[in-house]
Symmetry: D2
Subunit: 413 residues, 4 copies
Amino acid sequence: MDASFSNKKKILNDPVYGFISFPSEIFFDLVEHRYFQRLRRIKQLGLTHLVYPGALHTRFHHALGCLHLMQLAMSVLRSKGHDITAEEEEGVCLAILLHDIGHGPFSHALESSIVSGTSHEALSDLFIDRLNGYCGGRLELAREIFRDRYPKRFLHKMVAGQLDMDRLDYLKRDSFYTGVSEGVISADRIIQMLNIAEDELVVDAKGIYSIEKFIVARRLMYWQVYLHKTVLGAEQLLIRILLRARELTSGGAELFSTPALAFFLRHRAQKVDFHEQAGWLDTFAALDDFDVLTSIKVWEDHKDPILSGLSQRLIGRRLLRTLILDEAPAAEQIERLRQHWARRTGTALAEAHWFVFGGKISNKAYDDSLEPILILYRDGRLIPLTEASEHINLGQISKPLTKYYLCYPKELD
Amino acid sequence: MDASFSNKKKILNDPVYGFISFPSEIFFDLVEHRYFQRLRRIKQLGLTHLVYPGALHTRFHHALGCLHLMQLAMSVLRSKGHDITAEEEEGVCLAILLHDIGHGPFSHALESSIVSGTSHEALSDLFIDRLNGYCGGRLELAREIFRDRYPKRFLHKMVAGQLDMDRLDYLKRDSFYTGVSEGVISADRIIQMLNIAEDELVVDAKGIYSIEKFIVARRLMYWQVYLHKTVLGAEQLLIRILLRARELTSGGAELFSTPALAFFLRHRAQKVDFHEQAGWLDTFAALDDFDVLTSIKVWEDHKDPILSGLSQRLIGRRLLRTLILDEAPAAEQIERLRQHWARRTGTALAEAHWFVFGGKISNKAYDDSLEPILILYRDGRLIPLTEASEHINLGQISKPLTKYYLCYPKELD
Amino acid sequence: MDASFSNKKKILNDPVYGFISFPSEIFFDLVEHRYFQRLRRIKQLGLTHLVYPGALHTRFHHALGCLHLMQLAMSVLRSKGHDITAEEEEGVCLAILLHDIGHGPFSHALESSIVSGTSHEALSDLFIDRLNGYCGGRLELAREIFRDRYPKRFLHKMVAGQLDMDRLDYLKRDSFYTGVSEGVISADRIIQMLNIAEDELVVDAKGIYSIEKFIVARRLMYWQVYLHKTVLGAEQLLIRILLRARELTSGGAELFSTPALAFFLRHRAQKVDFHEQAGWLDTFAALDDFDVLTSIKVWEDHKDPILSGLSQRLIGRRLLRTLILDEAPAAEQIERLRQHWARRTGTALAEAHWFVFGGKISNKAYDDSLEPILILYRDGRLIPLTEASEHINLGQISKPLTKYYLCYPKELD
Amino acid sequence: MDASFSNKKKILNDPVYGFISFPSEIFFDLVEHRYFQRLRRIKQLGLTHLVYPGALHTRFHHALGCLHLMQLAMSVLRSKGHDITAEEEEGVCLAILLHDIGHGPFSHALESSIVSGTSHEALSDLFIDRLNGYCGGRLELAREIFRDRYPKRFLHKMVAGQLDMDRLDYLKRDSFYTGVSEGVISADRIIQMLNIAEDELVVDAKGIYSIEKFIVARRLMYWQVYLHKTVLGAEQLLIRILLRARELTSGGAELFSTPALAFFLRHRAQKVDFHEQAGWLDTFAALDDFDVLTSIKVWEDHKDPILSGLSQRLIGRRLLRTLILDEAPAAEQIERLRQHWARRTGTALAEAHWFVFGGKISNKAYDDSLEPILILYRDGRLIPLTEASEHINLGQISKPLTKYYLCYPKELD
């Protein structure tokens, strides 16, 4: 081990796991790359901190947490006698480290507004390609695993499946930082129970309780955190701010903006653009939470009353009233609220939709229709989770739960 | 505040909550009483530590934990504007402190063997009476609440209900000490959500997630800890050891034993005895884990091969193989194992039932047929939990789950 | 309690303490004010997250944590029989809530560069005045306590003293989020030991261990976190970036910048300005981490090689090599490194000081010369901490420890 | 890996570390041995639970915790490039697992009363010999390491040194179970900082903070837990109970007792006895907390007023007043208290020493005179801890602190 390598073999502090260490030099080099460093400036949970003030953790820390869990999982699978080569271990660890590298700031909001032509998965793929070039092709195997083209498919499942290291880390990390202890899962314990049978990632039968708890925790985290009505309202506000900013930009208005944000306000990016235009991916890589929030802060004083009105609400945390409903709000109810708002503020009814609107959300904690989680019994049988579970009705829990929302200014109450 | 009072107003360290404090002098006096101090020598989870070595916590610590939670609950309910008098607060705190004082060592095993004529609830009642005398009648109100004779029935519900401080503390404490993090609940958060409506203890609607998690955790703890097959097998062993010891005693055999244990081996205690015979309760109060385990340790060398054989298995942790089955084991299967055992050990077939036997267990995490947990909505509606819950099928979870077991020496495998 | 009040009586999740609740409506109103909301966008530990990636917590969360501890402390002092009026409790809670409201982004760096004419303490005072107006004078008592003009001086000590709620929260919170468990203190336990004697805030003798641990933890946190060499190097980089930006601005260069940051780059703010010019405080209130970081991100591409060079280093985390030394680095050593740098990069030697420089740091964990922490013995004696402590040499620990640093680009190694 | 092995490769739950796993079959076999299982019935902290009710953890759990830390340490040292053979790893892990196997119940009290002729270290050595026979000589290397006869001396240092896995586990475990968070150390972090240089176990320089914290924590735990005055008083009571019981036994009195305890009350065991008499070690192995406590419970009713009086105090927790003093209590003060007690109770003055007595305690957190903890700097220098530390005066802390105590019945106050 030469000095520079030893120097790079860093250990990082993590409030969640204590320590995270890099398996080898290439991990350190990738983490130092500016494509990865940018994740330091992208919060994992977007605007959730407006409700849970501790939720400021970043995609950077989450990616490292996934790497930590993957190392643990590899060591568990090996101790159970499974043959995993050093190359495969490096590959799957690199794949999980980079699996979310394509995320931009406030992913959902941006994909619903100014970067709607592509997806973070497609961008992760592109970033991995670029980094593979940077690493002299050392990411080949990681890329195969990421794309599910590697024969040992259980490796891909650990990166992207219903029981992957991504979910294990984010549930644990998100519940830790929000302080919502309902979501706490035993990632360690679940990983201790992982196994491989018939080339599938499976769970030893005695781990079934932990898996059930994991599914329940995931569902509850959806409703208590990920789809929290106030967070949802804030995110909808953000989408509308960006859409309005783009509309104004198209109309030729002057708008304070960072260069990277300005670019995406002006261009309607399509997936193909990122592939064909050399600079697009780098411009995307320059975009983070800071560009978006800083611009909105300045827009609080913009002369367009819609842009400034929406921006003031977000920055000053005077969020919209958000109702979660079992059925879609009636068109007349929305119309009535819009009229009310137009009258009250003296604006055109045609613009009221910026402040009064509805929509639909839906969630599945566990998707029966996807490749199921398999439980391995002592006698070698493999049983899908929903059949194996006696304690909670997972058939029930795996049905999607759909809800509707209605947002409007609290002044209309 | 006089000096002696201030002296008694102790704070105790608790690994679970940090600190537990006594609200006033009478609590300190009761805790110092030998009826309460004996709980220091009675483990909350009996033989569970044979599987989860950390599970050594006592009924003493649990009772104090309940007291801590009750104080917190009282402060939450008051902060929501409910009128609770100082006397009522003292009463309900005393009631929860003493609610389990009637437990003997290895309660379930003793109630299934040598102290089968009464129940720990009846004995708690008797102890509370005695202590009431000792306190000059200051426990009157606590007794009314304990017996559910006090008009404000929500106070009783906090002592003994489907969401009482007893359950909140034991789930949290048991999962803490066993290290089974699946059972961890947010007692704090649940208590923050408690409320009173129509004189009932209810849960604010936004606490429904925590309640669901609580029910799921309770069910999982049952199967992973309370009814763990190895623990169950050990407990059955203990029952048989005590039954055999009584049989030998009745037959006139010499048996090492502590005075208190000797008494209960000789007498078949009925409920009425504890009421009518002055000394019985005190003899019971002298009995704890130490009497039972110490005697069994000595019985390892007793000349009766059944008593010594069973005792050696328990002390040396050479426990019986315990199978958990969906259906009752067939009589022929049991018979076959007994014959096998008799042949192998050269003992009479008629005695094989001491080592080979079966039975039934069953559990409900939440009992729909009892007074339900009520959810309070913002508009004032009260909805029973099973109707209110959307995320997990509580109708399903509240059905009892019945299983069967079969125990036999591992040598027969 | 009217409906709107009950509505405002929110509970917030906190990963550190579980829950934080507002004592009354006025707290909620102040927290909602944009002067307070801005603290959501100011990290407590500035650039520390570059070393400890979890350290993203904000001054907003810290202020709420202090409020939580103050409520606990009030309840402990009252339980010990001390008379504290409801007004005093509200006052001291408001004072601690607002004690740090004058902090800008990256306080130390800004006070060492573009906002050097005033201090965050002076600005806190101004903000409290403004908010007092906004609250119709309800902050009078809080202001008296904050300024140490209230007769019961122990109240001020709890806001700003050697054992105040500020220190208790920040040590606990910073160690929690950095993951540096050496700094973990038992804030709960320390608060349980607080008392009042001779109108002084004192510590019960049996709490002396906790206090010693607190002092040791504080000192270690200084060297392991607050003055970590890499953090220190990053902060020095930030100072130089801002100084260079101001220099360029003064010279008439075009510089991307948010309006608030532009203002402070153009004006050399003096304390008096904030008092006399109505808009200055509001402009300061508009400045947060986002203005600073976003501008530096854009400056990565500025044509001035010094500004862009320094900015690229900070954003890309290619930080300076920082050595911590027992003695000041020799002038010749610095000169040599500067020549080396000038030669290597082909820039003027006169500009090398932007990249190669030294300085001094120093720290005291406990300051003997200030009003000491007093220990209260059972017999009523009050002994200063340094005399009372037997276990660690606090005389030693309270001596300031001075160190020097030297920063230069790693390429020069 | 054959089926039976895989069956034995158990994972145990541990509230402190989450999971503890056995490296191989031999560990499982040793843990199942009755010499090891007896540790389940021996509390790590004896009577400490009378003050800290959570402190019920056993030597069994501690030994497993040490094994866990040793495995972690081996993996850290290997990752730093040090060559440790599989045999050496097994040897040092077995040595730490068994290092405390010679402990009897209430070690200090028994070594000060009825088993005073030997030490737990000598008994551990004997048990290891016996187990080595049982394992067919597989413990040879472990024994060499345990006795410090193995050339790579750093292995012994990890079993018994100033920074061994024993201390790391017990500090962490004891502070966890007592709830005294002052003692919490980062065992993980310390282990990450371990290294080997010049065949010595050393600490990387950047770990110095953790080591300082460890020393401070150790010292504070001594005074707050291990030498807590009430615990000390209870232990002295236990010593006197056992001494009195032996005196009565020698005098021919009848005394309830378990067979194992009766043996040690009758015989004055010398070290040589355990070596030469085959059965002595097995009788010792039969002795645990249950024998001692159960007998004392029965002695509460013994007709000797001294034995019953002392026993009632211990069981009923009516402990002696214990004063900790800077100087030895004056002989006259003790005499006066004894006279007072004799008068008050009507007993002979010559017997008053059973209830009124004094003594000396002393403690060193870190012993400079032993082989010091060495700090390894980047440039290869090795500096002893006391010289390297700047933050706390370890010269001071490593001086022994001596105190005196005086115990007497509270009735004499």
